[in-house]
């Protein structure tokens, strides 16, 4: 028992690495603050383009969305980060993460927003347009607010997935929480930093999981 404790929650090692891990957590937060708004905005753009109802455009959008939903995000990230330097384009890790996440998350957020926009009754469009609002004004002031409310649980649950996905940045050596934990583990020959990082993720993301569960069960109950 003591041995396990010594290897997994060693107080001495905790006191040595916690500050370093907190810094990694800060980087994870910054990364999330970069990729989540980027994903939301681009997803909304995909959904808005979809609701223009141009047949050829919708065909392209389906191909785009399905393509990037079929592609594992890590493959995308490594392709950008390790592939492009071969043609003389050096991509900094953070830019590779931004591009990879943009392509991946815009597909997922796009599908969610599309479902949201489609859930707003047609009459809302017609009423708004007949009061003299332009297409864009209708979209921004009438449709998107209602659409967002209708798909809030899905948006939240996808955002949680995106935040969890920032661990991929560790693979291209961005010093976020998981990367910091791996480095600390390699230096201390002890599992404590990994366990500590897992506890940090749990402490921060557990409340979000609970909230999503409650929203989802509410949504089922309403039906």
């Amino acid at each position: 028992m003591y041995e396990v404790f010594h290897q997994f929650l060693n107080p001495e090692i905790i006191s040595k690495v916690w500050l370093y891990l907190l810094k990694g957590l800060g980087t994870t937060a910054l990364l999330s603050l970069m990729v989540v708004p980027l994903g939301l905005a681009s997803g909304l753009a995909v959904a808005a383009l979809w609701s223009l109802r141009k047949r050829w455009l919708n065909g392209l959008l389906i191909v785009y969305v399905d393509f990037f939903r079929a592609f594992p995000p890590l493959v995308l990230l490594l392709f950008i980060y390790f592939g492009f330097p071969f043609v003389g384009i050096e991509v900094p890790a953070i830019v590779a993460v931004a591009i990879g996440f943009l392509l991946n998350t815009s597909s997922y957020y796009g599908e969610i927003f599309r479902a949201g926009i489609e859930s707003v009754p047609r009459g809302q469009w017609e009423a708004a347009r007949s009061t003299g609002l332009s297409w864009a004004q209708t979209m921004i002031s009438v449709i998107v607010p209602q659409a967002t409310r209708n798909v809030l649980p899905d948006l939240l649950s996808n955002t949680l997935e995106v935040v969890k996905l920032t661990t991929l940045a560790s693979v291209v050596a961005i010093p976020e929480l998981l990367n910091a934990a791996r480095n600390a583990q390699a230096l201390t020959y002890n599992a404590t930093p990994i366990v500590l990082a897992a506890l940090m993720y749990l402490a921060l993301l557990w409340p979000v999981v609970r909230l999503i569960s409650r929203l989802e069960h509410k949504a089922v109950a309403v039906r």
Binding site: D66, F71, V75, F79, S170, A181, R210, R223
Partner: protein, 225 residues
């Protein structure tokens, strides 16, 4: 940039010919890993949801705790724990086992929640009617509740299963020679990204049918309101 050079770099036929067997081997590993994950994850998830419907308080707490924790933890974090931390407790495991076990547990957590939401959504009258015909609680669950519940869980379940199965690529982080792992090491060896392109194509071959199936299932089994 000249298109020729781009093609020569990313789709070099000579390098493709040399390295495609590596990618093909990786493809088989990914396929095995994916199928094993889907089978174990969904079976465990369904089992947990069935046990949860028996409403045993302490057991339910344990199930909710498990499902919450594995939905909160990033899958790559779980793989790292199993592969790098468990050996310290005298439990070393292969990269394949660590990736398979991690993804299966994550899929079990998500699918348990989805199955459970499906079970809860069946009107109580169904349960009462079945019990009053003399069926046991277990018979009611298996013959009356689940057939109805599983049907409505199919769309969310399909999407979640695709998302988690794509996580097989995470195995490359613990040096598993699945598609991404083999493609990455082949492209370092060759000094050319063509193997990565091959790997990307392999993933598309594998997952595009899944994604299209998910789209079809979404319209086929949509909630009738």
């Amino acid at each position: 940039m000249e298109l020729d050079r781009l093609l020569f770099t990313f789709f070099n036929p000579e390098i493709a010919r040399e390295y495609w067997p590596d990618i093909a081997k990786g493809f088989v590993v990914t396929l095995q890993l994916g199928l094993a994950t889907i089978a174990a994850g969904l079976a465990l998830g369904l089992g947990l949801a069935m046990v949860r419907s028996l409403q045993l308080r302490v057991v339910n707490w344990a199930i909710v705790f498990f499902a919450d924790a594995l939905r909160a933890l990033p899958p790559l974090m779980v793989i790292i724990i199993l592969f790098f931390a468990f050996p310290y407790a005298g439990l070393p495991m292969s990269a394949f086992t660590a990736t398979w076990l991690s993804l299966s547990l994550v899929l079990a957590a998500f699918s348990e929640e989805i199955f459970w939401a499906g079970i809860v959504s069946i009107p109580k009258g169904q349960y009462e009617a079945a019990r009053s015909t003399g069926m046991s609680a277990w018979q009611t669950l298996v013959n009356v509740i689940l057939p109805q519940a599983v049907r409505i869980t199919i769309p969310p379940l399909t999407n979640r299963t695709i998302a988690i199965t794509k996580g097989t690529a995470l195995g490359s982080v613990v040096a598993l020679a699945e598609i991404l792992g083999s493609a990455h090491s082949a492209s370092s060896l060759a000094g050319n990204p063509t193997p990565l392109t091959l790997g990307a194509v392999a993933y598309l071959l594998l997952f595009i049918p899944f994604v299209l199936f998910g789209r079809w299932v979404e319209t086929r089994f949509a909630w009738k309101r």
